[in-house]
Protein backbone atom coordinates (compact mmCIF):
# COMPACT_ATOMS: atom_id res chain seq x y z
CA UNK A 1 0.00 0.00 0.00
CA UNK A 2 2.84 2.34 0.94
CA UNK A 3 4.61 1.51 -2.31
CA UNK A 4 1.40 2.30 -4.20
CA UNK A 5 1.14 5.62 -2.37
CA UNK A 6 4.69 6.59 -3.31
CA UNK A 7 4.18 5.36 -6.86
CA UNK A 8 1.28 7.78 -7.16
CA UNK A 9 3.64 10.78 -6.87
CA UNK A 10 5.36 10.36 -10.23
CA UNK A 11 2.01 9.44 -11.80
CA UNK A 12 0.49 12.67 -10.48
CA UNK A 13 3.50 14.65 -11.74
CA UNK A 14 3.22 13.06 -15.19
CA UNK A 15 -0.50 13.93 -15.38
CA UNK A 16 0.29 17.54 -14.47
CA UNK A 17 3.00 17.71 -17.14
CA UNK A 18 0.90 16.12 -19.89
CA UNK A 19 -2.40 17.95 -19.31
CA UNK A 20 -1.54 21.19 -21.20
CA UNK A 21 -0.22 19.13 -24.10
CA UNK A 22 -3.67 17.54 -24.40
CA UNK A 23 -5.62 20.76 -23.78
CA UNK A 24 -3.97 23.29 -26.07
CA UNK A 25 -6.85 25.76 -26.29
CA UNK A 26 -6.00 28.92 -24.23
CA UNK A 27 -9.45 28.91 -22.59
CA UNK A 28 -9.00 25.28 -21.51
CA UNK A 29 -5.51 26.09 -20.24
CA UNK A 30 -6.92 28.97 -18.20
CA UNK A 31 -9.40 26.56 -16.64
CA UNK A 32 -6.56 24.19 -15.75
CA UNK A 33 -4.65 27.08 -14.20
CA UNK A 34 -7.68 28.12 -12.13
CA UNK A 35 -8.23 24.52 -11.00
CA UNK A 36 -4.63 24.32 -9.79
CA UNK A 37 -4.77 27.69 -8.02
CA UNK A 38 -8.11 27.00 -6.35
CA UNK A 39 -6.91 23.48 -5.58
CA UNK A 40 -3.89 24.71 -3.63
CA UNK A 41 -5.97 27.34 -1.86
CA UNK A 42 -8.72 24.87 -0.90
CA UNK A 43 -6.20 22.24 0.22
CA UNK A 44 -4.35 24.73 2.39
CA UNK A 45 -7.62 25.95 3.92
CA UNK A 46 -8.61 22.36 4.62
CA UNK A 47 -5.58 21.99 6.89
CA UNK A 48 -7.20 24.28 9.45
CA UNK A 49 -10.88 23.85 8.60
CA UNK A 50 -10.94 20.10 7.97
CA UNK A 51 -8.04 18.48 9.80
CA UNK A 52 -7.60 20.84 12.75
CA UNK A 53 -11.33 21.59 13.09
CA UNK A 54 -10.70 25.34 13.44
CA UNK A 55 -13.50 27.54 12.05
CA UNK A 56 -10.91 29.61 10.24
CA UNK A 57 -12.42 32.16 7.85
CA UNK A 58 -9.23 34.22 7.59
CA UNK A 59 -7.88 32.14 4.69
CA UNK A 60 -9.39 34.47 2.10
CA UNK A 61 -7.69 37.30 3.97
CA UNK A 62 -4.30 35.56 3.59
CA UNK A 63 -5.02 35.03 -0.12
CA UNK A 64 -5.77 38.74 -0.54
CA UNK A 65 -2.77 39.81 1.54
CA UNK A 66 -0.53 37.70 -0.71
CA UNK A 67 -2.03 39.32 -3.81
CA UNK A 68 -1.72 42.87 -2.45
CA UNK A 69 1.83 42.25 -1.22
CA UNK A 70 2.82 41.24 -4.74
CA UNK A 71 0.93 44.16 -6.28
CA UNK A 72 2.60 46.70 -4.00
CA UNK A 73 6.08 45.16 -4.26
CA UNK A 74 6.24 44.98 -8.05
CA UNK A 75 4.44 48.25 -8.87
CA UNK A 76 5.67 50.51 -6.05
CA UNK A 77 9.05 49.20 -4.98
CA UNK A 78 10.41 47.51 -8.08
CA UNK A 79 11.07 44.20 -6.38
CA UNK A 80 11.99 41.40 -8.78
CA UNK A 81 8.62 39.73 -9.64
CA UNK A 82 9.79 36.17 -8.91
CA UNK A 83 11.01 37.30 -5.51
CA UNK A 84 7.58 38.76 -4.77
CA UNK A 85 6.06 35.26 -4.67
CA UNK A 86 7.90 33.95 -1.56
CA UNK A 87 7.74 37.38 0.09
CA UNK A 88 3.95 37.30 -0.33
CA UNK A 89 3.89 33.92 1.39
CA UNK A 90 5.90 35.35 4.28
CA UNK A 91 3.64 38.42 4.59
CA UNK A 92 0.58 36.12 4.79
CA UNK A 93 2.32 34.11 7.52
CA UNK A 94 2.99 37.31 9.49
CA UNK A 95 -0.67 38.31 9.06
CA UNK A 96 -1.71 34.87 10.28
CA UNK A 97 -0.04 35.61 13.63
CA UNK A 98 -2.55 38.45 14.08
CA UNK A 99 -5.51 36.42 12.81
CA UNK A 100 -4.54 33.61 15.18
CA UNK A 101 -5.00 35.73 18.32
CA UNK A 102 -8.73 34.89 18.67
CA UNK A 103 -7.91 31.19 18.40
CA UNK A 104 -5.94 31.47 21.65
CA UNK A 105 -9.07 32.13 23.68
CA UNK A 106 -12.14 31.42 21.57
CA UNK A 107 -13.64 28.14 20.42
CA UNK A 108 -15.96 26.95 17.66
CA UNK A 109 -18.16 29.39 15.80
CA UNK A 110 -16.72 32.37 17.71
CA UNK A 111 -13.38 31.69 16.02
CA UNK A 112 -15.29 31.73 12.71
CA UNK A 113 -16.77 35.14 13.46
CA UNK A 114 -13.48 36.64 14.63
CA UNK A 115 -11.47 35.34 11.68
CA UNK A 116 -14.15 36.48 9.21
CA UNK A 117 -13.92 39.94 10.77
CA UNK A 118 -10.15 39.77 10.15
CA UNK A 119 -10.76 39.27 6.42
CA UNK A 120 -13.25 42.13 6.36
CA UNK A 121 -10.82 44.39 8.21
CA UNK A 122 -8.35 43.75 5.40
CA UNK A 123 -10.77 45.49 3.02
CA UNK A 124 -10.91 48.58 5.23
CA UNK A 125 -7.14 48.54 5.61
CA UNK A 126 -6.75 48.46 1.82
CA UNK A 127 -9.32 51.23 1.32
CA UNK A 128 -7.72 53.32 4.06
CA UNK A 129 -4.26 53.14 2.47
CA UNK A 130 -5.31 54.22 -1.02
CA UNK A 131 -1.90 55.76 -1.75
CA UNK A 132 -0.30 52.36 -1.49
CA UNK A 133 -3.11 50.02 -2.47
CA UNK A 134 -5.02 52.06 -5.05
CA UNK A 135 -8.06 52.13 -2.74
CA UNK A 136 -11.29 51.08 -4.46
CA UNK A 137 -9.54 51.17 -7.87
CA UNK A 138 -7.16 48.44 -6.79
CA UNK A 139 -3.66 47.95 -8.17
CA UNK A 140 -3.43 47.74 -11.95
CA UNK A 141 -0.54 47.16 -14.28
CA UNK A 142 1.08 44.30 -12.42
CA UNK A 143 3.67 43.05 -14.94
CA UNK A 144 3.42 39.53 -16.32
CA UNK A 145 5.95 37.03 -15.12
CA UNK A 146 8.71 36.26 -17.58
CA UNK A 147 11.38 33.61 -17.86
CA UNK A 148 14.27 35.28 -19.63
CA UNK A 149 12.60 37.06 -22.53
CA UNK A 150 9.63 34.71 -22.66
CA UNK A 151 6.37 35.72 -21.01
CA UNK A 152 4.61 33.00 -19.06
CA UNK A 153 1.51 34.15 -20.91
CA UNK A 154 2.95 33.04 -24.27
CA UNK A 155 1.72 29.92 -26.06
CA UNK A 156 -1.73 29.87 -24.45
CA UNK A 157 -0.43 30.70 -20.93
CA UNK A 158 1.60 27.48 -20.81
CA UNK A 159 4.20 29.09 -18.53
CA UNK A 160 1.53 30.10 -16.02
CA UNK A 161 0.10 26.59 -16.21
CA UNK A 162 3.40 24.94 -15.32
CA UNK A 163 4.00 27.43 -12.51
CA UNK A 164 0.52 26.69 -11.13
CA UNK A 165 1.11 22.94 -11.51
CA UNK A 166 4.45 23.16 -9.68
CA UNK A 167 2.86 25.15 -6.84
CA UNK A 168 -0.03 22.67 -6.66
CA UNK A 169 2.40 19.73 -6.55
CA UNK A 170 4.35 21.42 -3.75
CA UNK A 171 1.10 22.04 -1.88
CA UNK A 172 0.05 18.40 -2.20
CA UNK A 173 3.44 17.29 -0.87
CA UNK A 174 3.25 19.77 2.02
CA UNK A 175 -0.30 18.81 2.99
CA UNK A 176 0.45 15.09 2.81
CA UNK A 177 3.60 15.50 4.88
CA UNK A 178 1.70 17.44 7.54
CA UNK A 179 -1.31 15.11 7.63
CA UNK A 180 0.83 11.96 7.85
CA UNK A 181 3.22 13.42 10.41
CA UNK A 182 2.90 13.26 14.18
CA UNK A 183 1.78 16.90 13.96
CA UNK A 184 -1.09 15.86 11.69
CA UNK A 185 -2.11 13.05 14.05
CA UNK A 186 -2.06 15.46 16.98
CA UNK A 187 -4.33 17.86 15.06
CA UNK A 188 -6.90 15.09 14.62
CA UNK A 189 -6.46 14.17 18.28
CA UNK A 190 -7.20 17.75 19.38
CA UNK A 191 -10.21 17.86 17.05
CA UNK A 192 -11.52 14.58 18.49
CA UNK A 193 -11.01 15.29 22.19
CA UNK A 194 -9.06 18.35 23.25
CA UNK A 195 -9.00 17.47 26.97
CA UNK A 196 -7.64 14.01 26.28
CA UNK A 197 -5.06 15.40 23.85
CA UNK A 198 -3.81 17.93 26.42
CA UNK A 199 -3.63 15.16 29.04
CA UNK A 200 -1.27 13.35 26.64
CA UNK A 201 1.02 16.41 26.51
CA UNK A 202 -0.20 17.96 23.23
CA UNK A 203 -0.21 21.77 23.06
CA UNK A 204 -3.35 22.96 21.28
CA UNK A 205 -2.03 26.48 20.76
CA UNK A 206 1.34 25.35 19.37
CA UNK A 207 -0.12 22.78 16.98
CA UNK A 208 -2.89 25.08 15.77
CA UNK A 209 -0.43 27.95 15.25
CA UNK A 210 1.86 25.78 13.13
CA UNK A 211 -0.94 24.63 10.86
CA UNK A 212 -2.42 28.14 10.71
CA UNK A 213 0.92 29.50 9.50
CA UNK A 214 1.43 26.68 7.00
CA UNK A 215 -2.03 27.28 5.50
CA UNK A 216 -1.40 31.03 5.37
CA UNK A 217 1.92 30.57 3.56
CA UNK A 218 0.24 28.57 0.78
CA UNK A 219 -2.66 31.03 0.55
CA UNK A 220 -0.23 33.97 0.33
CA UNK A 221 1.68 32.32 -2.52
CA UNK A 222 -1.63 31.52 -4.28
CA UNK A 223 -2.64 35.17 -3.89
CA UNK A 224 0.64 36.28 -5.42
CA UNK A 225 0.13 33.92 -8.35
CA UNK A 226 -3.40 35.27 -8.81
CA UNK A 227 -2.06 38.84 -8.95
CA UNK A 228 0.45 37.94 -11.69
CA UNK A 229 -2.14 35.92 -13.62
CA UNK A 230 -4.75 38.71 -13.70
CA UNK A 231 -2.42 41.71 -13.68
CA UNK A 232 -4.73 43.49 -11.25
CA UNK A 233 -5.68 43.23 -7.58
CA UNK A 234 -8.84 44.66 -6.04
CA UNK A 235 -10.75 44.33 -2.78
CA UNK A 236 -13.01 41.75 -4.47
CA UNK A 237 -10.34 39.23 -3.50
CA UNK A 238 -11.42 39.51 0.15
CA UNK A 239 -15.10 39.18 -0.78
CA UNK A 240 -17.84 36.73 0.01
CA UNK A 241 -17.69 35.35 -3.55
CA UNK A 242 -14.27 33.75 -3.09
CA UNK A 243 -15.24 32.57 0.39
CA UNK A 244 -18.34 30.69 -0.76
CA UNK A 245 -16.60 29.38 -3.88
CA UNK A 246 -13.79 27.81 -1.85
CA UNK A 247 -16.12 26.47 0.83
CA UNK A 248 -18.13 24.83 -1.97
CA UNK A 249 -14.96 23.16 -3.22
CA UNK A 250 -13.98 21.89 0.23
CA UNK A 251 -17.41 20.53 1.17
CA UNK A 252 -18.17 19.06 -2.26
CA UNK A 253 -14.78 17.33 -2.40
CA UNK A 254 -14.74 16.29 1.24
CA UNK A 255 -13.16 18.14 4.14
CA UNK A 256 -11.83 14.99 5.81
CA UNK A 257 -9.34 14.03 3.12
CA UNK A 258 -6.16 15.38 1.56
CA UNK A 259 -7.39 15.26 -2.03
CA UNK A 260 -11.07 16.10 -1.43
CA UNK A 261 -10.65 19.87 -1.78
CA UNK A 262 -8.62 19.37 -4.97
CA UNK A 263 -11.36 17.18 -6.45
CA UNK A 264 -13.89 19.82 -5.36
CA UNK A 265 -11.80 22.56 -6.99
CA UNK A 266 -11.76 20.68 -10.31
CA UNK A 267 -15.51 19.96 -10.28
CA UNK A 268 -16.67 23.39 -9.11
CA UNK A 269 -14.36 25.19 -11.57
CA UNK A 270 -15.69 23.08 -14.45
CA UNK A 271 -19.36 23.48 -13.46
CA UNK A 272 -18.86 27.17 -12.79
CA UNK A 273 -17.31 27.69 -16.22
CA UNK A 274 -19.95 25.59 -17.99
CA UNK A 275 -22.70 27.69 -16.41
CA UNK A 276 -20.91 31.04 -16.71
CA UNK A 277 -23.80 32.56 -18.69
CA UNK A 278 -26.50 31.14 -16.44
CA UNK A 279 -26.47 34.03 -13.96
CA UNK A 280 -27.84 33.18 -10.54
CA UNK A 281 -28.62 29.63 -11.72
CA UNK A 282 -24.92 28.88 -11.58
CA UNK A 283 -24.82 29.30 -7.81
CA UNK A 284 -28.13 27.45 -7.40
CA UNK A 285 -26.83 24.47 -9.40
CA UNK A 286 -23.57 24.35 -7.42
CA UNK A 287 -25.48 24.55 -4.13
CA UNK A 288 -27.85 21.78 -5.27
CA UNK A 289 -24.88 19.68 -6.37
CA UNK A 290 -23.28 20.02 -2.93
CA UNK A 291 -26.53 19.04 -1.20
CA UNK A 292 -27.02 15.97 -3.41
CA UNK A 293 -23.41 14.80 -3.03
CA UNK A 294 -23.42 15.29 0.75
CA UNK A 295 -26.75 13.46 0.95
CA UNK A 296 -25.34 10.48 -0.94
CA UNK A 297 -21.82 10.67 0.49
CA UNK A 298 -21.42 12.74 3.68
CA UNK A 299 -17.64 12.68 3.20
CA UNK A 300 -17.92 14.34 -0.21
CA UNK A 301 -16.64 13.14 -3.57
CA UNK A 302 -13.40 11.90 -2.00
CA UNK A 303 -15.45 9.77 0.40
CA UNK A 304 -17.39 8.40 -2.56
CA UNK A 305 -14.20 7.45 -4.37
CA UNK A 306 -12.84 5.86 -1.17
CA UNK A 307 -15.98 3.72 -0.88
CA UNK A 308 -15.40 2.56 -4.45
CA UNK A 309 -11.74 1.77 -3.71
CA UNK A 310 -12.74 -0.15 -0.58
CA UNK A 311 -15.15 -2.20 -2.66
CA UNK A 312 -12.19 -3.10 -4.88
CA UNK A 313 -10.34 -4.51 -1.91
CA UNK A 314 -8.40 -1.60 -0.46
CA UNK A 315 -7.97 -1.95 3.33
CA UNK A 316 -10.50 0.19 5.20
CA UNK A 317 -8.00 0.88 7.94
CA UNK A 318 -6.03 3.30 5.81
CA UNK A 319 -8.27 6.17 6.67
CA UNK A 320 -7.91 9.87 6.20
CA UNK A 321 -4.56 9.89 4.50
CA UNK A 322 -5.66 8.99 0.99
Amino acid sequence: MRALTWASWPAFAVVLVVLPLVFTDPAARLLLILMAMYGMLAMSWNLTLGFAGIFNFAQIGFFGIGAYTTGILVTKTGVEPWLAIPISGVSAVLASLVAFLPVLRLRGIYVGLATYVFSQLCIYLVLGQAGLTGGSNGIVGIPRLTLGDTSLRADGRIGYYYLAAALLFATVVLVRLIVNSTLGKSLLAIRDNETLAVSRGVSRVRQHLIVFMAGAAVAGVAGSFNAFLNGVVSTDIFGFGYLTLLLSMIFLGGSGSVYGPLIGAVVVTLVSDYLRDAGAWRDIVIAALILVVLWIAPKGLAGLSRQALDRWGRPTSARETS
Binding site: A189, N193, S199, R200, S203, E320
Partner: protein
Protein backbone atom coordinates in the same frame (compact mmCIF):
# COMPACT_ATOMS: atom_id res chain seq x y z
CA UNK B 1 5.49 13.19 54.50
CA UNK B 2 8.27 10.63 53.96
CA UNK B 3 11.06 10.82 51.37
CA UNK B 4 9.41 8.03 49.37
CA UNK B 5 6.34 10.14 48.62
CA UNK B 6 5.99 10.83 44.90
CA UNK B 7 2.62 12.60 44.81
CA UNK B 8 0.90 14.47 47.60
CA UNK B 9 -1.84 16.99 48.25
CA UNK B 10 -1.66 19.38 51.17
CA UNK B 11 -5.01 20.81 52.33
CA UNK B 12 -6.30 21.09 48.75
CA UNK B 13 -9.73 22.69 48.35
CA UNK B 14 -11.97 23.49 45.41
CA UNK B 15 -15.42 25.06 45.44
CA UNK B 16 -17.98 25.53 42.70
CA UNK B 17 -20.15 28.39 43.91
CA UNK B 18 -21.41 27.40 47.36
CA UNK B 19 -20.54 23.70 46.83
CA UNK B 20 -17.25 22.57 48.38
CA UNK B 21 -16.33 19.76 45.99
CA UNK B 22 -12.93 19.12 47.59
CA UNK B 23 -12.44 20.33 51.14
CA UNK B 24 -8.95 20.39 52.64
CA UNK B 25 -7.83 17.03 51.24
CA UNK B 26 -4.36 15.78 52.17
CA UNK B 27 -3.14 12.47 50.80
CA UNK B 28 0.27 11.09 49.98
CA UNK B 29 1.16 8.45 47.43
CA UNK B 30 4.43 6.57 47.79
CA UNK B 31 6.81 5.42 45.09
CA UNK B 32 5.71 2.15 43.53
CA UNK B 33 2.44 1.69 45.42
CA UNK B 34 -1.14 1.40 44.22
CA UNK B 35 -3.22 3.95 46.09
CA UNK B 36 -7.01 3.65 45.97
CA UNK B 37 -9.62 6.38 46.17
CA UNK B 38 -13.21 5.46 46.94
CA UNK B 39 -16.36 7.19 48.05
CA UNK B 40 -19.98 7.62 47.08
CA UNK B 41 -21.03 9.55 43.97
CA UNK B 42 -20.30 13.25 44.33
CA UNK B 43 -17.64 12.67 47.01
CA UNK B 44 -15.08 14.66 45.00
CA UNK B 45 -12.86 11.84 43.69
CA UNK B 46 -12.79 12.85 40.03
CA UNK B 47 -12.55 16.52 41.01
CA UNK B 48 -9.43 15.61 42.99
CA UNK B 49 -7.99 13.90 39.90
CA UNK B 50 -8.75 17.04 37.90
CA UNK B 51 -6.92 19.13 40.49
CA UNK B 52 -3.91 16.80 40.40
CA UNK B 53 -3.63 17.08 36.61
CA UNK B 54 -4.86 20.66 36.16
CA UNK B 55 -7.56 19.43 33.78
CA UNK B 56 -9.45 21.68 33.48
CA UNK B 57 -9.42 23.22 36.97
CA UNK B 58 -6.95 24.33 39.64
CA UNK B 59 -7.25 24.34 43.45
CA UNK B 60 -8.64 27.40 45.23
CA UNK B 61 -6.16 26.71 48.02
CA UNK B 62 -3.64 24.10 49.13
CA UNK B 63 -0.68 22.53 47.37
CA UNK B 64 -0.16 19.63 45.00
CA UNK B 65 3.37 18.20 45.18
CA UNK B 66 4.83 15.92 42.54
CA UNK B 67 8.33 14.65 43.34
CA UNK B 68 8.50 17.45 45.89
CA UNK B 69 7.71 20.19 43.35
CA UNK B 70 4.56 22.31 43.63
CA UNK B 71 2.50 21.79 40.48
CA UNK B 72 -0.89 23.29 41.34
CA UNK B 73 -0.25 26.35 39.12
CA UNK B 74 1.43 24.44 36.30
CA UNK B 75 -0.32 23.89 32.96
CA UNK B 76 -1.99 20.51 32.32
CA UNK B 77 0.49 19.95 29.49
CA UNK B 78 3.48 20.57 31.76
CA UNK B 79 2.07 18.17 34.35
CA UNK B 80 1.50 15.51 31.69
CA UNK B 81 5.02 15.90 30.31
CA UNK B 82 6.44 15.77 33.83
CA UNK B 83 5.12 12.21 34.09
CA UNK B 84 1.65 12.39 35.65
CA UNK B 85 -0.70 10.64 33.23
CA UNK B 86 -4.37 9.91 33.64
CA UNK B 87 -7.28 8.05 32.15
CA UNK B 88 -10.91 9.16 32.18
CA UNK B 89 -14.19 7.71 33.41
CA UNK B 90 -15.48 7.42 29.85
CA UNK B 91 -13.25 5.23 27.69
CA UNK B 92 -11.74 8.18 25.82
CA UNK B 93 -9.72 7.45 22.68
CA UNK B 94 -9.04 9.50 19.56
CA UNK B 95 -11.74 8.06 17.34
CA UNK B 96 -10.57 9.31 13.96
CA UNK B 97 -7.12 7.84 14.52
CA UNK B 98 -6.02 4.25 14.21
CA UNK B 99 -4.90 2.30 17.28
CA UNK B 100 -1.27 2.86 16.27
CA UNK B 101 -1.74 6.60 15.79
CA UNK B 102 -3.42 6.89 19.20
CA UNK B 103 -0.21 5.49 20.65
CA UNK B 104 1.89 7.67 18.38
CA UNK B 105 0.33 10.83 19.84
CA UNK B 106 0.79 9.53 23.39
CA UNK B 107 4.38 8.58 22.70
CA UNK B 108 5.44 11.71 20.84
CA UNK B 109 4.16 14.39 23.19
CA UNK B 110 4.15 12.63 26.53
CA UNK B 111 7.77 13.32 27.50
CA UNK B 112 9.58 16.56 28.35
CA UNK B 113 11.14 18.60 25.55
CA UNK B 114 10.44 18.44 21.84
CA UNK B 115 8.07 15.83 20.41
CA UNK B 116 9.81 12.46 20.49
CA UNK B 117 10.58 10.68 17.24
CA UNK B 118 8.12 8.02 16.16
CA UNK B 119 9.05 4.82 17.90
CA UNK B 120 7.16 1.86 16.51
CA UNK B 121 8.86 -0.68 18.76
CA UNK B 122 7.81 1.23 21.86
CA UNK B 123 4.22 1.33 20.64
CA UNK B 124 4.21 -2.39 19.87
CA UNK B 125 5.53 -2.99 23.40
CA UNK B 126 2.76 -0.81 24.88
CA UNK B 127 0.14 -2.80 22.95
CA UNK B 128 1.63 -6.05 24.14
CA UNK B 129 1.76 -4.77 27.74
CA UNK B 130 -2.00 -4.11 27.76
CA UNK B 131 -2.67 -7.33 25.82
CA UNK B 132 -4.38 -5.50 22.99
CA UNK B 133 -4.09 -8.00 20.21
CA UNK B 134 -6.03 -6.22 17.46
CA UNK B 135 -4.64 -4.92 14.17
CA UNK B 136 -2.84 -1.69 15.15
CA UNK B 137 -3.92 -0.10 11.88
CA UNK B 138 -7.63 -0.48 12.55
CA UNK B 139 -9.66 2.59 13.58
CA UNK B 140 -9.89 3.06 17.34
CA UNK B 141 -13.57 3.92 16.99
CA UNK B 142 -14.49 0.29 16.32
CA UNK B 143 -12.91 -1.24 19.45
CA UNK B 144 -14.91 -3.00 22.18
CA UNK B 145 -15.33 -1.36 25.59
CA UNK B 146 -12.53 -3.36 27.23
CA UNK B 147 -10.21 -2.83 24.27
CA UNK B 148 -10.88 0.92 24.37
CA UNK B 149 -9.94 0.89 28.05
CA UNK B 150 -6.80 -1.11 27.21
CA UNK B 151 -5.90 1.42 24.51
CA UNK B 152 -6.54 4.37 26.84
CA UNK B 153 -4.21 2.82 29.41
CA UNK B 154 -1.62 1.97 26.74
CA UNK B 155 -1.65 5.58 25.50
CA UNK B 156 -1.04 6.80 29.04
CA UNK B 157 1.68 4.17 29.60
CA UNK B 158 3.56 4.53 26.32
CA UNK B 159 5.52 7.57 27.54
CA UNK B 160 6.49 5.66 30.71
CA UNK B 161 4.82 7.91 33.30
CA UNK B 162 6.01 8.17 36.88
CA UNK B 163 2.43 8.02 38.17
CA UNK B 164 -0.64 6.63 36.42
CA UNK B 165 -4.02 7.98 37.54
CA UNK B 166 -6.90 5.66 36.64
CA UNK B 167 -10.43 7.02 36.91
CA UNK B 168 -12.91 4.15 37.38
CA UNK B 169 -11.17 1.70 35.04
CA UNK B 170 -13.64 -1.11 35.86
CA UNK B 171 -16.79 0.91 35.15
CA UNK B 172 -19.12 -0.89 32.75
CA UNK B 173 -17.11 -4.14 32.71
CA UNK B 174 -18.61 -7.54 33.48
CA UNK B 175 -16.93 -9.74 36.16
CA UNK B 176 -14.81 -11.61 33.59
CA UNK B 177 -13.52 -8.36 32.09
CA UNK B 178 -12.93 -6.98 35.59
CA UNK B 179 -10.69 -9.99 36.27
CA UNK B 180 -8.82 -9.32 33.04
CA UNK B 181 -8.40 -5.68 34.07
CA UNK B 182 -7.06 -6.65 37.51
CA UNK B 183 -4.50 -8.97 35.86
CA UNK B 184 -3.49 -6.21 33.46
CA UNK B 185 -3.07 -3.55 36.16
CA UNK B 186 -1.20 -6.00 38.39
CA UNK B 187 1.26 -6.63 35.55
CA UNK B 188 1.73 -2.91 34.93
CA UNK B 189 2.28 -2.31 38.64
CA UNK B 190 4.81 -5.13 38.77
CA UNK B 191 6.79 -3.16 36.19
CA UNK B 192 7.28 -0.42 38.79
CA UNK B 193 4.57 2.08 37.89
CA UNK B 194 2.97 3.99 40.76
CA UNK B 195 -0.81 4.10 40.43
CA UNK B 196 -3.71 6.00 41.91
CA UNK B 197 -7.05 4.35 41.20
CA UNK B 198 -10.54 5.74 41.67
CA UNK B 199 -12.97 2.84 41.76
CA UNK B 200 -16.55 2.08 42.77
CA UNK B 201 -16.00 -1.64 42.36
CA UNK B 202 -14.47 -2.23 45.78
CA UNK B 203 -13.36 -5.79 44.99
CA UNK B 204 -11.11 -4.37 42.25
CA UNK B 205 -9.71 -1.82 44.67
CA UNK B 206 -9.12 -4.47 47.37
CA UNK B 207 -7.29 -6.65 44.86
CA UNK B 208 -4.96 -3.89 43.68
CA UNK B 209 -4.44 -1.20 46.30
CA UNK B 210 -1.98 -1.40 49.16
CA UNK B 211 -3.48 1.70 50.77
CA UNK B 212 -6.61 3.69 50.11
CA UNK B 213 -8.58 6.74 51.18
CA UNK B 214 -12.34 7.21 51.25
CA UNK B 215 -13.81 10.60 50.46
CA UNK B 216 -17.24 11.86 51.47
CA UNK B 217 -18.60 15.32 50.73
CA UNK B 218 -15.17 16.44 49.57
CA UNK B 219 -13.31 15.36 52.72
CA UNK B 220 -11.09 12.38 53.47
CA UNK B 221 -12.90 10.35 56.14
CA UNK B 222 -10.57 7.33 56.40
CA UNK B 223 -7.13 6.36 55.10
CA UNK B 224 -5.42 3.00 55.55
CA UNK B 225 -5.16 -0.57 54.29
CA UNK B 226 -8.18 -1.61 52.16
CA UNK B 227 -9.34 -4.37 54.54
CA UNK B 228 -9.31 -1.92 57.47
CA UNK B 229 -10.84 0.97 55.55
CA UNK B 230 -13.71 -1.02 54.07
CA UNK B 231 -14.64 -2.38 57.51
CA UNK B 232 -14.67 1.09 59.06
CA UNK B 233 -18.19 2.12 60.21
CA UNK B 234 -17.67 5.64 58.83
CA UNK B 235 -17.18 4.18 55.35
CA UNK B 236 -20.27 1.98 55.63
CA UNK B 237 -22.23 5.04 56.77
CA UNK B 238 -20.91 7.16 53.90
CA UNK B 239 -22.13 4.60 51.38
CA UNK B 240 -25.37 3.43 53.03
CA UNK B 241 -26.43 6.37 55.20
CA UNK B 242 -26.51 7.17 58.94
CA UNK B 243 -27.18 4.17 61.18
CA UNK B 244 -26.29 1.57 58.55
CA UNK B 245 -23.14 0.53 60.36
CA UNK B 246 -25.01 -0.56 63.50
Amino acid sequence: MTSSVILATDEVSKSFGSLKAVDGVSIDVRHGEVFGLAGPNGAGKSTLFNLLTGLPIRPDSGRVLFNGVEIQRRSPRWIAKAGLKRTFQTEAVFESLTVRDNLRVGSAYGSPGRPARWNNARCEAALAAVELGCDPDRPAAGLSLLDRKRLMIACAMVSEPAVLLLDEPAAGLDPADQEALIRLLTTIHAGGTTMVIIEHVLSVLSALASRMAVLDSGRVIVTGRPQDVLADPRVVEAYLGPGAAR
